[in-house]
């Protein structure tokens, strides 16, 4: 009786670990393959490549279409990140540190762009921008991407605010500090890791955004993801693997920064006492 059940448990354990190992390969392999192909010397998509070269990176940085779309992406991502950070932080402060009526509804609205399928948002914004003449414009992209990324800033800042003891602010206020000074000197330093996390998330999401960009982009102004999309639909060559590798490096860098910041945030002396 006992040995049999031990044996089945051993079998299940082996099966589970095998499945897990295969899944890790399944999850990680595609990105590794993209990175390897980007250094391929072959003229077409071939894995493993016959030998290595930098030709696809040369092609990428020599092709005005890619350069223009990469520039457009940067022009969109930076203002989007800053706007989302400012609006999202302000909104989170307003939600967490006041008694506004309908708090649940307001939070729901601020989070809605994550829940509503992005294809609906894309079609809807495209329709509105047609009337407002914003399709294919930098301003249009910044506004649309800010809507998509504000929820992430709101949630990271709200999470940070939950860890800051409200009594510090109340003490400063009762001692006569003006509200702006309380924010700048007390609240802001404490929630800074959350604010910067939100900024980085917003930038990564904006940089990777495709569906909304596909609708509101124009042939003359389009971010790098839209350029990649038309490339994948047309003749595919390893240039897209080179772009993919660069995007991936950017995300990894941001993820690393975020992890470092969270680490720094944890060791902040006032944190974790509330």
């Amino acid at each position: 009786m006992m040995p049999a059940s031990v044996r089945t448990e051993f079998l299940w354990r082996g099966l589970r670990i095998t499945i897990s190992a295969l899944l890790v390969v399944f999850l990680v392999a595609p990105m590794l393959i993209v990175v390897v192909i980007s250094f391929s010397s072959a003229q077409f998509l071939m894995f493993p490549p016959p030998s290595f070269s930098l030709q696809w990176y040369r092609k990428l940085f020599g092709d005005p279409a890619w350069i223009d779309s990469l520039t457009a992406s940067i022009e969109i991502v930076v203002p989007t990140g800053i706007l989302a950070m400012v609006l999202g932080t302000a909104a989170a402060l307003g939600l967490a540190r006041s008694e506004i009526p309908g708090k649940k509804i307001i939070t729901g609205l601020l989070m809605a762009p994550i829940v509503v399928p992005v294809i609906i948002i894309a079609a809807a914004i495209f329709g509105a921008f047609r009337i407002w003449n914003l399709n294919g414009s930098l301003l249009g992209f910044i506004l649309a991407h800010t809507v998509l990324t504000v929820p992430y800033v709101v949630s990271t800042v709200l999470a940070s605010l939950q860890m800051v003891d409200e009594r510090y602010e109340n003490a400063a206020l009762t001692l006569g500090a003006p509200p702006w000074a309380v924010f700048r000197r007390i609240v802001f330093p404490l929630i800074l890791p959350g604010v910067l996390s939100g900024l980085l998330f917003a930038m990564v999401i904006s940089f990777d955004e495709l569906v909304v960009s596909l609708f509101i982009g124009s042939p003359t102004f389009r971010p790098v993801t839209v350029q990649m999309w038309s490339d994948v639909l047309g003749d595919v060559d390893p240039t897209i693997a080179a772009v993919g590798t660069l995007l991936f490096l950017f995300s990894l860098l941001v993820l690393l920064l975020e992890a470092l910041m969270r680490h720094a945030g944890m060791s902040s002396p006032l944190m974790g006492q509330s």
Partner: protein, 280 residues
């Protein structure tokens, strides 16, 4: 008393901080989405003609069926595969655990488009998978795996699996191991132990992951468009075609209403299923 009197104006001012974000969200989200949904009833003329078209014309009906079918299969595969993986991560310790979480997060943070492209390469006629299965003698000739259902499922499972594993892991890592040990020492056989003790304890994670993956799957656009064939068209692709190519805003609006309804029903339904287990 002095305190609250000094703080009241500050609190009222702070509420105003929400206003800029709300204005932006109203103008560039709520208003556009609202008018898209309204157009289902008003475009080109007021009436239910757009919804009737969705039900009657096979193109739309097939897309609805594909959407539920594909999203459902993806959710099921993610659950069956993600559950043991999440369990392994929850059981692992220290460095191994961090490494496993990192490998789940990597695809999370690389662009959907790039990963879909990777699957095009891996699954193509002379790709890695085909050469492997022909080489191992599993099949005689390469099989077509892109521009059909296999491609869509592989690509979507790859993208959505982390959204199943992370909620499961978050619940499993907090499950106290003494419960299953107690059940085992009282003579519960492993399978019974799992179904009666561990599964109920991890149920909130199952519900969260399932809802998340299914709802995200319903609105998928990029992966079915690149890896699927004509028989795998989903609602999102039809919305895109109706708006960009055909300019039929009424039908697009009606499809958006149906998609949003599906999302809302899933949330309502599965959170109701999930609640009894979380209450215990």
């Amino acid at each position: 008393m002095f305190n609250s009197a000094a703080m009241r104006p500050a609190l009222a001012n702070r509420a105003l901080l929400v206003v800029p974000a709300l204005i932006l969200l109203f103008c560039v989200f709520a208003y556009p989405v609202g008018s898209l949904l309204l157009r289902s009833l008003s475009d080109p003329v007021w009436g239910l003609q757009n919804f009737r078209a969705i039900i009657e014309q096979p193109v739309y009906f097939n897309a609805l069926r594909n959407t539920v079918g594909i999203s459902g299969s993806v959710t099921l595969i993610c659950l069956l595969a993600g559950y043991p993986l999440a369990y392994t991560i929850a059981q692992a310790s220290g460095r191994m655990q961090r490494l496993l979480i990192f490998s789940v997060l990597i695809p999370f943070w690389s662009s959907i488009l790039v990963r879909t492209f990777a699957w095009l390469v891996i699954l193509q006629h002379r790709g890695l998978v085909n050469r492997a299965i022909v080489g191992l003698g599993i099949v005689d000739a390469p099989i077509t795996m892109v521009h059909n259902r296999i491609g869509v499922l592989a690509g979507m499972v790859h993208i959505l699996l982390p959204f199943m594993v992370l909620p499961l892991y978050a619940v499993m890592v907090r499950i106290n191991g003494t419960y299953t040990q107690a059940a085992a020492s009282l003579g519960a056989p492993p399978l019974k132990n799992f179904f009666r003790v561990y599964l109920p304890l991890s149920w909130p994670g199952v519900v969260n992951g399932t809802v998340l993956v299914f709802v995200m799957g319903l609105g998928y656009f990029i992966t079915p468009a690149l890896l699927g064939g004509p028989g795998d068209t989903m609602i999102a692709q039809l919305i895109e075609t109706e708006v960009s190519d055909l300019g039929r805003w009424g039908v697009a609006g009606a499809l958006a209403v149906v998609l949003l309804f599906g999302v809302a029903v899933t949330f309502a339904l599965l959170f109701r299923v999930g609640n009894p287990a979380t209450r215990k």
